[in-house]
Symmetry: C3
Subunit: 309 residues, 3 copies
């Protein structure tokens, strides 16, 4: 694989199959070592800056925990401050300034393409922690790590992706990575929120088998794993459209009872009501384990970017 040392992490499509194998291997190694040790001080004296121009406490805390588990330091600009820090400043200037303080920048920004823009402005590595409707590659990597860990392999899987497939950058980045492996995908969404055609076409061009449906039960019964996503209110211009679709795709005990076999359930969280809390004790419910995996994967990426793995 190409070394990740000094590299930006901007887009799911920057990774080869070998890259993903290497990242998963390091993450798995860290997961094992953390069971035995209190932290892995590989990045002592190093500092990351977390710049969040929109709130995503979950992602920010995961990165900050990962860096501290590796013995490194964190400086952090919150979403509230971001408006005031700017005082009319361009993103490029902010990035260049923060580059003088930190060794790596983790950026969350509402504008698609902002992570690329940030990376172009600075010689230090930038990690895209979500850029608008664009990408969120570390989420995709932790999803792939979780799939591999839960199912033992990434090959010959059938996976259902459910919910808002139109606006969900999480699923867009995930299918990009899954396309490197021979998996079959069910896209389960209301018509209004179907996977964008260029993505579907691109996946088919890579030889992926794609089934588009509104029948979640059919898809689940054919799948090893179901990836649920929230139908995000804030993406809708027209709230009445949101009300129409929000209750359509829900996993609850009734749904599980009708399922023909055990299935693994992932969700990037937070959930609203698309997975009922009753489901949490189901052995296939892996969404909180998935959160924990995010720390191991981000530790792996950070260690590799700093050339420590």
């Amino acid at each position: 694989m190409a070394s990740l040392k000094g590299k930006d992490i901007l887009h799911g499509n920057q990774f080869s199959k070998k890259d993903i194998d290497a990242i998963l291997k390091v993450a798995s190694e860290f997961e094992k070592e953390l069971k035995k040790k209190d932290g892995l001080p590989l990045l002592k004296g190093k500092i990351i800056a977390t710049l969040f121009y929109e709130p995503s406490t979950r992602t920010r805390l995961s990165f900050e925990a990962a860096m501290q588990r590796l013995g490194g330091g964190v400086i952090s600009m919150g979403s509230v401050e971001s408006s005031s820090v700017a005082k009319g400043e361009t993103l490029a200037d902010t990035i260049r300034t923060v580059s003088q303080y930190a060794d790596v920048i983790v950026l969350r920004h509402p504008r698609t393409g902002s992570a690329r823009e940030a990376a172009d402005a600075t010689p230090i590595p930038v990690i895209n922690a979500g850029d608008g409707a664009g990408q969120h590659p570390t989420q995709a990597l932790l999803d792939v790590y979780t799939i591999h860990k839960e199912l033992g392999s990434l090959k010959n899987l059938t996976i259902s992706l459910v919910g808002d497939l139109k606006n969900g950058r999480t699923v867009h980045a995930l299918v990009e990575l899954l396309s490197l492996f021979q998996s079959k995908l069910y896209f389960v969404s209301p018509g209004l929120l179907r996977m964008p055609e260029e993505i579907t076409a691109n996946l088919k061009g890579k030889g992926m088998k794609i089934v588009e449906t509104e029948d979640m039960m059919e898809a689940a019964n054919a799948s090893h794993l179901i990836y649920m996503t929230r139908i995000q209110k804030e993406r809708f211009a027209d709230l009445s459209e949101y009300e129409k679709v929000k209750g359509s795709f829900i996993i609850d005990q009734t749904f599980l009872n009708k399922l023909k076999k055990k299935i693994t359930i992932l969700h990037p969280l937070p959930r609203v009501d698309e997975i009922h809390p009753d489901v949490d004790t189901y052995s296939g419910a892996a969404y909180f384990r998935q959160m924990r995996n995010g720390v191991f994967v981000r530790m792996a990426l950070l260690a590799m970017i700093f050339g420590k793995r």
Copy 2:
């Protein structure tokens, strides 16, 4: 004592006399060691998450200083973020998620019972840093530590508690702990803000001597220590009621001059005008020392929860 290793800290009444003795001993040991050393790196590689759903910078900073003095790391969700992180998420889900990142959660939440709810949602220890009108046990422990340190003992004391005894969770938790020792208590408050009857009855049932009065001078002259509290504007539905009582219980130079003997003065801070700044140089004014003790007590609790003492 029952070990605190892996335990939640939720309520003042969870501690036995032996528990308190043990916590005070560890806190005192840490206080002495910190005078000789730069930090006590017992918790390297460990992480606490501070989740504050309402502002209490004082308590948050005290915990974060305690954890860092022990060599550990901190991830933090501020009160401003807490509204946005949720996106409709339940407290249980947020707690379960943050549990994947941190080893201990420190929670401040406006809803009584929320700390218990959080503890039920996760296998990792939860420390209640204030839950609405409920409890704030680490404050009570630092108060007891301060009383012990200032007066040399916790036995056979007479203590006056002054101010808003109705809504003050600080005093509620404190009297819970004091009831383990043979102390006599004066409850000094306006009629509107008297200690809730069930608490008073409960204390009497444990053999405590309780005197309820509106005469602060009488109480002070009979006491070794006076514990002042702020009459909290935000607890009043009717602001005219607040205006009526706020100036009623004030310690100033005039009050000290009339006192028959030296008294020790505590206050959980922040104060508004219930203790005049003139009093700060009085040798019995122990409220800033009390703040410092908070760090030692929280260090002791954290070290004990992690099984390092």
Copy 3:
């Protein structure tokens, strides 16, 4: 020099020439060592508190990075929290409380004189990170460090200061320090925003040569270095006055082409449009290097205050 151990950093005029030489030497030493090592763990177990009563993420992150590069910890109160933490509390009380948690306080406050007030309230060192229209001494020190590094000396320099010289505390603190060396200064500003007369008179009294002008080109052609500042909208009561002057003093490629010789350009950042992005690739454009120098200078100050240099 007088040792900085345990000292407050409040005002540019507290430093002698020897002090500045000593600070610059330590900063330079740290800069070199950081190229070879991952951090300089001189302040392990020590904690600074950053208290920012108005937003200045840039300055805060620079201090927090400096402390962490030295192995120390940080507790932080953001500008948003500052309003709520107070609950009517005086600055002195907040400072005295935070003094119980941290070893050094870094304070940013909108009120002139607040840093002095804070220092009087506590025995621990206070660093003024900007107090209203008052001082910002660490900015002045990093500016002087940058001038020395870029030009190789602090003596016999001609320096132009451009922009809002009336309200700019940055330039006020800088000229204070420059007055210790034999430099000639051009004050370039619109009439409305001229350097306050008492400062100019004071500098002249110290033997400085001062030229006041509105002609930036004339000043630049006579100078080794030009220090640009933003014309700060928020300082203007009358916005129409702001609109009149804001575009008056701008460096762009056209300006550089007309210059007779290379010049070094500094700016405290953020900029709005007073330096065009085209200028960033000019070899004399030193304003991002200047940001980085801030970390080395703050590391030096912290280490010296803690008696570690």
